[in-house]
Amino acid sequence: MGALLQVQDLVKRFGGFTALAGVSFHLQPGEVLGLVGPNGSGKTTCINVISGLYAPDGGTVQYGGRSIGGEKPHSLAKAGINRTFQSPRPFLSLTVRENVELAAHYGDPRPGFDVDALLAELELDQYANRPAADLNSAQQKTLDLARAMATEPRLLLVDELAAGLNPSELNRMADRLRALADGGMALLVVEHLMGFIDKVTDRVVIMAAGKEFFGGTLADATKDPEVIRVFLGGGHHG
C-alpha cells in the first residue's frame, strides 16, 4: 500500500534558526507513528508545516500522492488532514456543540455526519450546550480532538494530547487513538510520555536538532546507544 503521508527532506527556517534541517518519514493509512525527541527538536514545527500553518523552506510534503507544501490549513482540513494542539484551543465563546458543529459544517465530512454521536463517543455530550470556556483543560483537549474528528480526517496530527491528563484519562485517550487507527486513520503523534507512546504507536521517528536520526519500534529505540545519548545527555552530533 502506498504511503498516505510522505515527508522528504523537510526544511523550515525562522530567520537564522533552522528548526527542521531535512526531516524524512512516511505514514501508512491505519498506522500510528510517534514523533519523539527533546524539547526544541522540531516535532511541533513538523506538525505545523504538515498542517499548513507554516510553509516549508525546502523539501516536500506529499499527501495521498500530491504535494501539499504551502497549502492553506482550511484547504488541508477539507482534504482530510487535521490536528490537535499542545495547549487546547477551543472557540471559548461558543458552546461545545457549536465548536464541533462548525467543523462538521466547514470541514466537509460525509453528508449526515452525526455531531451528537461524536460528542457522546468522546463523553462531551453532557457539556454540549455549555460554553467551551467552562470546560477544564483535559475536557478542552478532548474538544480539540472532537473538532478535528468532525472533519473526518484521514490523517490526524496529535500534538502532546496526553500532557496534563491523569492516568485514567491517559488510558482512555490512548484507547481512543488506537480505535481511530484501527478504523483506518493515520496518526502522527508527538508526545513526551513514553508509556503513552508505547501504548499508542506502531513505530517511532526520533528527532534531534531538526533532523530524524532513528526510525523503528520504540523497543528498538530504547536499545539504541545514540538515542540513549541524546535523551540522557551529550547532545546529538549526527
Binding site: 490549513p73 471559548l92 465563546s93 462548525l102
Partner: protein, 310 residues
Amino acid sequence: MHSSRTRRAILDAAIATSVVAVMGIARGVYSNELMLFNFIMFLTLSQGLNIIYGFTGYLPFGYVGFFGAGAYGFALAVMHLHLPAFAAMVCAGLAALVLSVILLPLLRLSGAYFAIASMAAAQALYEVIANPDLENVTKGPYGVSLSGVFAPAASYYLALAILAVTLMLVVWLRNSRFGMSLQAIRDDSVSASMAGISVVRGRTVAWTLSAVIAGLVGGVFAWHISVFYPDTAFDLSVSIFATVFLLFGGATTLVGPLLGVFILYGVYNVIGIAVPQYFQFTYGALIVLLVLFLPNGLVSLLTSRGIRVP
C-alpha cells in the same frame, strides 16, 4: 436545537423591528429631526462596527474613513455626475467598498497596530480630499453644498431603511453558521482554519460589510445635512462615539450597541442641553466607570450570569 435557534432569531428580529419602528414614529412626535437622525446614524454605525469588531475582533479607530468616503462618494456623484440622490447613494456604498478593498492588507495587522493603521488611512484620505489643489474635484477644505438634492424627509427614511438592513444583518450573523464562523475566527483564527473555515474570506466579508454600512451612513448623512466640510465628514469623534457606544453596551450582541447609543447619546444630548458646563466631566466619568467596572459592556451584567442577551 434548531427550533430554539429559530426562536432566538425571531426574538432578535422583533427587537430590531421595534427599534426601527420607534425611530420611524419618533419623527412624527418629536420636532428635533437632526437629533433623531443622529441617533439613527450612530445606531447604524455602532452596529456596523459591531460586525467587524464584535464578530472578528478588529477594532478600526479609522472607521470614520468609510463614513467620509461614503459622504464624498455621494457628494461627488451629485456634483459631477448629476445623479439623483438615490443613485448617488450607490456611489456612497461603492466608495466605501473600494476603500475597504484597498485597505484589505491592514487585516494582516492586529490589535493596536491595526487600530492605529486604520486611523492613519482615514487621516490620509482626509488629507487628499481636503487638499486645496483638488478644489475643482472635492471643493478641498471649503466644503460642499448639495442644496439641489436637499430632502430631509426622504433622507431620514432612507437612513431608517439602512438601519433596518444593518440590524437584520446583525440578526443574521448572530444566528447563522457564517456568523458563528466569524466568532470562531475571533476566538482563535488558527483553530478556525483547522475547522475548515477560510479565515481570510471570513474577515474580508466582515470588513467589507462593515465598511459599506459606514459608507451608506456617510452618504445619507451628506444628503441629509447637504452642506458639509472634510472636517465634518472625517471627524474622528464619529469613530470614537461609535466605538464607545458599542463597547458601553457590549459587542457581539444586537442589544448592546443599541443600549449604548440610546443611553450614552441620550445622556450626551441631555447634559449638552441642560448642564453643558459639566458635559465633558460627566461623560468622561461615565466612560471611566464603564472601563473600570464593566469592561465587557452593560450586557455583561447578564452574560456573566449565563443569561443569553439578544
